[in-house]
């Protein structure tokens, strides 16, 4: 890793073994490195976006052991022994996840910047509550901000995906 060359001579190195999109990763990080930088800069997965940088907007949402976290404010070493899912790991064998299909069919995005976070947060919601009411959906998703759509299409997309996922289950 090129990054390792620039590390401080007295830097503390923490071995981190974790699963990223289903594949085992064994790396070393310094305590101050952020999960978002690890994923975007070192591992080249740029689906998660740095936007507000203060845990408010949800554009950097990743799932750690299935639960949403703000990667912008998560220390990279915290994923030791855990399973991380980014938007790049959601499609299986070239087939989009029902949430991804529904966002396309229902126009659940415009510029697309918030979409990876929206879809991952929605996945966490539907994994825990496959049949959410609209109020439950809004409560869960209120920390993911879309600055284009006005949310109506996003809600429709998630509801449609939920229905499809329930039918398959």
């Amino acid at each position: 890793m090129a990054k390792a060359m620039t590390k401080h001579s007295d830097a503390q190195s923490i071995p981190v073994s974790f699963t990223l999109n289903g594949r085992l990763q064994e790396i070393e990080v310094e305590p101050h490195e952020l999960l978002l930088d690890l994923v975007r800069e070192q591992l080249g997965l740029t689906g998660a976006k740095r936007s507000c940088d203060v845990e408010v907007c949800g554009a950097c949402t990743l799932l750690v052991d299935g639960r949403p976290v703000s990667a912008c404010t998560t220390l990279a070493f915290e994923v030791r022994g855990r399973s991380v899912l980014t938007i790049e790991g959601l499609a299986q064998d070239g087939k989009l996840h029902p949430l991804q299909e529904a966002f396309i069919e229902h126009g659940g995005f415009q510029c697309g910047f918030c979409t990876p976070g929206m879809i991952l947060a929605a996945k966490a919601l539907l994994d825990e509550n496959p049949d959410p009411s609209e109020a439950e959906l809004k409560h869960f998703m209120h920390g993911n901000i879309c600055r284009c759509t006005g949310y109506k299409k996003i809600i429709e997309s998630i509801m449609a995906a939920a229905k499809r996922m329930r039918a398959k289950a």
Binding site: I14, H32, A121, G143
Partner: protein, 282 residues
């Protein structure tokens, strides 16, 4: 960007307290990091060491002992919003926890961290004051209780000593006739004002405790407002609640900031107290 720091990972409270004592102000306890890391990224605070307390055992669950709920300081907001014993005994705290920040912050943020960081615009401290909670502070060889009321000293300042670790929060299990509610209002990410009320209902209203948070530098109990409702019948109390709200507003030590002017916050305290009281009664 975060500046480089060293990470310590103690495996006992004694070890954590020893590290805090040894490194003093150059070290800080780190749990969920949802508030601390933001301040560090902004460069508002800087530490040479973070002491990750998440390896400490026995501080991550909710139990009952001696008539009190005992909440481990490492419980995340997510754990608390889903805790069956909390929902059964303290539904007002469950509801508060369901509405802290957003789902990602609740996932990793801990109640202990929230309380110790003592950000003025936070929720739990206000309700814990009204519920008569006690904070358990431990160091290498000793342990003490601090009432929630005495715990919050000023903005970002608590009664904890430099080498003390908050380990547990004890909340007396409310009597069957006890009522409580917490309401907040704001238009930014964090609340502008939070109001908590707790009392017993035996025909009349007794043991009234009211606390106001977010309005000023630290959550505080407002005895002036409590006195106006204490010992009143339900109807009388409802008639006096606007007056109590005005008293609570005046006593809240509200300050003007981005979340509203002093006058605005004092007004909102009154509105929220009235609604919280009505909601607790219903």
């Amino acid at each position: 960007m975060l500046r480089r720091f060293r990470l310590e990972e103690p495996e006992s409270v004694a070890e954590a307290a020893e590290l805090l004592g040894r490194f003093g102000e150059s070290a800080k306890v780190y749990a969920g990091g949802t508030e601390l890391l933001l301040a560090m990224k902004e460069g508002l605070v800087q530490y040479e060491r973070l002491i990750n307390v998440k390896k400490l055992t026995g501080l991550s669950d909710v139990t009952t002992a001696d008539g009190a709920l005992v909440i481990g300081a490492l419980c995340t907001h997510h754990q608390l919003e889903n805790s069956p014993v909390l929902r059964d005994k303290l539904p007002a705290l469950t509801k508060l926890e369901q509405n802290v920040a957003n789902v990602r912050v609740r996932q990793v943020g801990t109640i202990g961290g929230n309380i110790c960081f003592a950000e003025p615009h936070a929720d739990p401290g206000t309700l814990l004051i009204a519920l008569g909670a006690k904070m358990i502070a431990e160091k290498s060889s000793s342990k003490r209780e601090i009432t929630a009321e005495d715990f919050f000293v000023d903005a970002y300042e608590t009664a904890l000593q430099a080498d003390e670790v908050l380990t547990k929060i004890q909340v007396p299990i409310p009597a069957p006739n006890a009522r409580s509610a917490y309401l907040k209002f704001g238009y930014l990410e964090r609340p502008s004002v939070g109001v908590a009320v707790a009392f017993n209902l035996n025909g009349g209203v007794s043991g009234v405790r009211i606390a106001v948070g977010c309005a000023g530098p630290a959550p505080r109990r407002v005895a002036e407002a409590e006195a106006l409702l204490e010992g009143k019948s339900k109807d009388e109390a409802l008639r006096h609640v606007a007056e109590a709200g005005a008293a609570a507003g005046r006593a809240a030590q509200a300050i003007s900031d981005l979340h509203g002017s002093q006058e605005y916050k004092e007004h909102i305290v009154g509105v929220l107290l009235k609604r919280a009281f009505q909601s607790a009664l219903s």
